[in-house]
Symmetry: C2
Subunit: 298 residues, 2 copies
């Protein structure tokens, strides 16, 4: 059996796991990422964590990071949560310290690799994974390899416009799906329409489940916007399946059926039966990072 | 030097060319496709045309067809211009008659392969090609291989919605970019706004070049809609370049700069400098079909 290290590096915490070639987590350790203490501290901490594992049977290391990565250089092209990591060769430093090949990709892409290789999309040639939580980010995974793009911006689907004459909310385009259908957006809309009792995505979903008509309308509109985004994605890559993860997807019973209905307005007849799966991996961050290394070393 | 046969099968004509491995057309023949006389006649005619070539140094055969193709079965999944070809194993029949491997894909995908392998996108890892003529169709080509999709619908970008509250024009979604920015759409809008003197895309481009303000407004709006479509595509696959072909692109000097400007409203800062190239191949249909075979046989 071959093993890989999967590292989920976030702005707050970092987790390192030893994962077998079938995606089973054998051992996992976590720690603060020390992002505020500077990149040297972050990297030193990761190397120390790696060195607590038996590396003798480890084939390679994968790392998921919170931001776009240029997979040709293994460097982040934009980094808001990890100061100093933009265009910094930290993978090379970790390779030097561990003697193992290191592969980096952004966290949504890494989760997509997890679902495509050992999760809900296992066995599908083209998997389109996206996460719907604080934000919305996606990954196009073909034959186990994620499509990174020219500068790692492939999968920045949160910026796809689905609503017209929408107000300026943040740096995203007017009417961007992330500002209409993310967990953050649900909380914002819930607060506007329902007040304090609906000021988070979780509260809106709970009210919807209890049959609150306003909450049901918010979720219906969210499904409409997300379905339109999915239709657009299907027209571009016609995936063998969609896999949806992230906090909102825990309430899949309240809107996955609606997604198919609304997506149908935007695609051709033969495309309407594309499977829509709920993400399966319990630890997509570390498992996906490990599978990223497995696929790249094939 | 290796050689391939490239076949461009349309609803009206069929062209067969012998192409070397670098994409140079060595010999080309054309004929009516006899679509109205039924599929057997169409296929018999193609086989007869193939047999007039010296096949001794031919590695394989590629065929471009007017409709989506399931690249796993080599069959068309939808066929309006070639009656009887839907889910019909014509590639197998041609393989049996010629003893050569046959690879089928839709015409836009085949043109994309031509531009990605020996055309304007040569050397780029991820090429997004699209044609803007009667309709709008695209192809995502990664490392020379076109992304076909679950049922061959990848690249059906003409159906991407870019305009809201748009009227129902045909089977496409309301506000689909093909009904706003194709050559057909330009002719329709030109006739509405300019009358007979602007009732075709060519006439609208000519008037625009002469400085007619209404024609310039039509082209500006077209660039806005097309730029929005390109931004959406970039968010999903972040291509190393866009390559644009089709009749409208002959007037690239009137709107390619605008495409970049308008696309910028829909993408992140680092994505705004993606190269936008004019298609280069003189014979994308037959050359792309030949390169399709070359890439699949690698």
């Amino acid at each position: 059996m071959k093993y890989y290290l999967g590292i989920d590096l976030g702005g707050t915490n970092v987790r390192v796991a030893k994962v077998d070639e079938e995606g089973n987590v054998k051992m996992i350790k976590d720690s603060p990422s020390y992002a505020k203490e500077g990149r040297d501290k972050v990297i030193r901490n990761i190397i120390e964590m790696i060195q607590t594992f038996d590396l003798s049977n480890v084939e390679g290391i994968g790392i998921g990071v919170p931001g776009p990565v240029d997979d040709k250089t293994n460097m982040m092209t934009m980094s808001t949560n990890l100061p100093g990591f933009e265009n910094y060769p930290f993978a090379e430093i970790i390779e030097g310290a561990t003697g193992k090949r290191v592969f980096v990709n952004n966290d949504a892409n890494v989760a997509g690799v997890a679902e495509a290789t050992v999760g809900a999309g296992k066995g599908c040639k083209i998997v389109y994974y996206f996460t719907q939580s604080t934000g919305i980010g996606g990954a196009l995974v073909i034959d186990g390899h994620v499509v990174g793009g020219r500068k790692g911006y492939a999968g920045e689907i949160g910026n796809i416009v689905v609503k017209e004459n929408a107000p300026k909310i943040n740096h995203l385009a007017l009417g961007a799906v992330e500002n209409e259908a993310s967990g953050t957006a649900l909380g914002r809309k819930g607060k506007e329409i329902l007040g304090e009792k609906g000021d988070s995505a979780r509260k809106v979903f709970d009210l919807c489940r209890k049959g609150d008509p306003k909450a049901m309308e918010i979720i219906d509109q969210m499904a409409k916007d997300l379905g339109r985004m999915m239709g657009t994605i299907a027209l571009i890559c016609d995936p063998d399946c969609f896999v949806i993860g992230g906090g909102c997807s825990k309430s899949h019973d309240l809107y996955f059926d609606k997604l198919r209905t609304y997506m149908a307005d935007y695609v051709h007849e033969g495309m309407k039966d594309v499977p829509i799966y709920l993400a399966q991996c319990q630890e997509p961050g570390v498992i996906g990072a490990a599978m990223l290394a497995r696929e790249e070393l094939k």
